[in-house]
Symmetry: C2
C-alpha cells in the first residue's frame, strides 16, 4: 500500500492526471504538481479546485522543480512524502526522475519512452537503450517502475496481454491502430508540442515483422481500416514505443503500429519537411540571424493546449489481433472510443491528453492498492491486465471488443 | 544621341544586362555596374570579360553604390559620364534613381514598378502612386524616363501597342499570359528573390474588366490556355504592372494578366501562406527569439541564381488580343518563346532573368540611337513598337504571331 502522488510536468496530460488523481484522492492521498514553471502547476491546481474535483479533503500543492536535477527531485519526493511519482513531463527527463525514485524508494510511472534530445529514432528495441539497463537496479532497490502507462503505449499493451492470455493459443500479428477522428477546426495543428510530435515522423519507422526489425520511411506504408464508430480510416505505419516491448515480451512474430493521418496533415508535413522547415539544424537568414526552422514552425502553429475548447469528434485506439484459438483462426479488435468534448467538459483537456493521462492514474491507483506494486521494473504487458482495465472502465475509458459481427463492451467488474 | 550606361543592381537580371550591353558597346559606349555590394558587381564584370562579351574595346567598371542615396547616385552618374541609367535593382529604389536622373539629365530605364517596402498591393493604377506624379518634372527637365522596359511589363506592352496600331480597329480584351514551362529540378524554388516574389501573391489581384478595376484574391481565378511550344498551361489571374498602364493608355476595356503555376507550386505556396510562414510580421519562438517567418523561408529555399546551370525548358510569354478588324472579329496571340539553356550558355543566367534583362538593353540602344529618346516619361506602349521589336529580334527575343492555324515569325527588319 503506497500513497501520496507527485505529478511531474504541467502540460495537457498533467492537467488530466491532476483532475483524475483528485477525484480518487481517497485512494491516492496527497497530490503534488511540479514543473520548471510553477505558474503552470498553480493553474492546474486552480483548475482542479474550480471544478471541485477533490473527492475528499486533502493536500493539493504546486511546486517548482527542474526534474533533470536528481537531487532536487529526491528532495521534493522526501519533502512531500510522495510514494508514487507520476512522470508526465518531457520524454527527456525519464532517466533523471527514475534515479530519484530508485534513491528514495518511490514508485515510478511514465507514459512515453526516454529520449535523448540530440538523437532521433534510435536502434530497436528502444527500451534496451535506457530503461531496461536499470531493471536490476530497480529490483535490487525493490522499486516499482511501470513504463509506458499511457494509452499507447500502455492500455494497448494490456489489450495485447489480455488477447494473449484469454483469446488466443497462438498470436500471429498484433496491429495497433490509433485514429484521431476529431476536428480542432484550425488549418493545421499538432496535438502535442510540435517539436516532440514531428520528431516521431522525421526518421526511420521501425516495425517487428516475422521476428525481425524492419525499417521503412515515414508515410511509406499506408493502410485503410474499417473501425468502429469512426469508420474507414487512413493510417500510416509509424514507429512507436510499444512495438519495442511487445515484440520482446509476448513472443509474437509481428507487431506493427498504425497512426491515422488525413491527406491534409500528410501534405502539410511533406511540404514542411521537404523545404527543410522541420530541421533542428540552424540556418542563417540574409540578415545574419541564426535560427532553427522547426522552432519557427512551432511559433506559427497553434498552441496545442488552445485546441481543447473547440475540439469535437472521437478517437478510436485498439489492437487488431490475429492468430489461432482451439485450432481455428481468430481475429479480434480490442479497443476504446473516447470523445474530445466529453474530455474537455470533465477535465478541461482534449481527448488526446485524456487518453494519455487517465491510464497513468489507473496505474497509480493499482500501485496504491498493491495490485501492481510489483517492486521491480515492468512494461504494462508484464502485469495483470484485468485489474487495470477494470479501473479504466470506472475512470472513463471502457474497453470494447469486436469479433466478426459481434461488437460489445468487456465487463471487468 | 546618348551614350555610356550605368547599370544599377547586381542580381541575375543585371548579369544579363551587362553581357548584352557589352555585346553592343559600339552603340552604348562605356559600361558601369553599381550596387551596394561591389563584389557582386565585380563578379559580373569578371563574367563579361571571361566570356569575351565586349564587342569593341571600352570601359567596363564596377562601383559600390547605395542607390537610395540620391546625391551619391548623382555623383556616380557625373563621375562616369553615363547618359543612360539602367535601373535593374530592387523595386524599392526607383524613385531615388529617377531623382538622380532628373537632376543630372541622364535617361532613365527600369523594368518594374516602384514599391514601398512597407506596403503590399496598393490601389490601382499603381503608376499613379509614384511614377506618373513625376511626369511634368521629367518633361520640364527634358529627361527620357522609360518605365517597365522588361518583358512583362515591357515587351508585352509593345505587343499590345502593335496589335492596337496594326491588327485591330477595336480591341475588346488583352490577356497577357506568362508561362514558364522550364524545370529547375529542385523540390521548390522561386525564380526571383523569394521575399519579392511572394509579395506579388499575398495581397489582392487587380484586373481591368469592362473599364473598371476588379479585385480578386490570388489563386482564385484559374484558366488553362493552349500555347505554342509549351502546350496546355495552367495559369492564375495575377496582379501585374502592365495592367496599370495599358488600361489607362490604350482605351481597351479589359486587360488581365495570367501567370502560369503548376499544382505543386500552388500547394507549397498555400501551405506556407496558411501556416503564416510567408508573413513579414515577426513572431517570437519559445526561446524568445524574434524572427520574421518569410526570412526563414527564404533562408531554406535555393538561391534563385543557383538554379541557372540546371534549368531546362522554355518560357512562353505573350498577348492574346481579341477585337474587331474591318468589321470582323479577330483574335491574335503575339508572343515570344525563350529557352533557359540557351540563356545560360549565352550570358550565364536562366531564362527568367534573360527575358527581363534583354528588353531593357534594347530600350537603352533606342535611346542611344535617338529613336526612343523622347525627353519625357513614357510607358512602353507610348512609344513606337516596331524599332523596339526589331532590336529584340537581333538581341535574341524574336516575336511570333499566331492567328487561327497560322503561326509565324514577325519580321521587323
Amino acid at each position: 500500500m503506497k500513497k501520496n502522488v507527485l505529478i511531474i510536468g504541467a502540460g495537457g496530460v498533467s492537467q488530466v492526471v491532476a483532475h483524475k488523481c483528485a477525484r480518487n484522492n481517497d485512494v491516492l492521498g496527497d497530490i503534488h504538481v511540479a514543473s520548471r514553471t510553477v505558474e503552470k502547476c498553480e493553474a492546474i491546481v486552480a483548475s482542479v479546485r474550480e471544478k471541485g474535483s477533490l473527492k475528499v479533503e486533502g493536500r493539493l500543492e504546486a511546486h517548482a522543480l527542474d526534474a533533470m536535477d536528481v537531487a532536487a527531485t529526491k528532495a521534493l519526493i522526501e519533502k512531500t512524502g510522495a510514494q508514487i511519482v507520476l512522470n508526465v513531463g518531457s520524454s527527456f527527463i525519464n532517466m533523471s526522475v527514475l534515479s530519484a525514485c530508485i534513491e528514495t524508494g518511490a514508485a515510478y510511472i511514465d507514459t512515453a519512452i526516454h529520449e535523448d534530445p540530440l538523437k532521433i529514432c534510435e536502434t530497436p528495441p528502444w527500451y534496451a537503450n535506457y530503461e531496461w539497463k536499470r531493471r536490476e537496479e530497480c529490483e535490487k532497490a525493490g522499486v516499482t517502475a511501470i513504463l509506458g502507462a499511457g494509452f499507447d503505449p500502455g492500455v494497448v499493451n494490456a489489450y495485447a496481454k489480455l488477447a494473449h492470455d484469454e483469446y488466443f493459443d497462438r498470436i500471429d500479428t498484433i496491429d495497433i491502430i490509433d485514429v484521431n477522428a476529431g476536428s480542432h477546426g484550425r488549418y493545421f495543428s499538432t496535438n502535442f508540442d510540435p517539436e516532440i510530435n514531428f520528431r516521431e515522423f522525421t526518421g526511420q519507422v521501425w516495425s517487428w515483422q516475422d521476428n525481425a526489425w524492419v525499417s521503412n520511411s515515414m508515410f511509406e506504408i499506408r493502410k485503410e481500416w474499417d473501425l468502429p464508430v469512426v469508420g474507414t480510416s487512413t493510417t500510416y505505419m509509424t514507429g512507436h514505443d510499444e512495438i519495442h516491448s511487445l515484440s520482446q515480451n509476448l513472443g509474437v512474430p509481428t507487431v506493427r503500429f498504425w497512426m491515422g493521418f488525413g491527406d491534409h496533415y500528410v501534405n502539410v508535413f511533406t511540404v514542411l519537411k521537404n523545404l527543410g522547415l522541420l530541421s533542428e539544424q540552424p540556418v542563417t537568414t540574409a540578415e545574419g540571424l541564426e535560427v532553427v526552422p522547426l522552432k519557427v514552425v512551432k511559433a506559427v502553429l497553434p498552441d496545442p493546449s488552445s485546441l481543447a475548447p473547440d475540439y469535437t469528434g472521437k478517437t478510436c485506439i485498439g489492437d487488431l489481433v490475429k492468430g489461432v484459438k482451439d485450432g481455428r483462426e481468430r481475429e479480434v479488435f480490442i479497443y476504446n472510443v473516447a470523445d474530445h468534448k466529453d474530455a474537455y467538459n470533465e477535465v478541461g483537456s482534449q481527448g488526446i491528453s485524456y487518453t494519455a493521462g487517465v491510464p497513468a492514474v489507473a496505474a497509480a491507483m493499482l500501485i496504491a492498492t498493491g495490485e501492481w506494486d510489483v517492486k521491480k521494473m515492468a512494461n504494462v504487458e508484464d502485469l495483470a491486465p484485468r485489474p487495470f482495465l477494470a479501473v479504466l472502465d470506472r475512470l472513463g475509458l471502457p474497453t470494447r471488443i469486436r469479433e466478426g459481427e459481434d461488437d460489445r463492451a468487456l465487463d471487468f467488474a
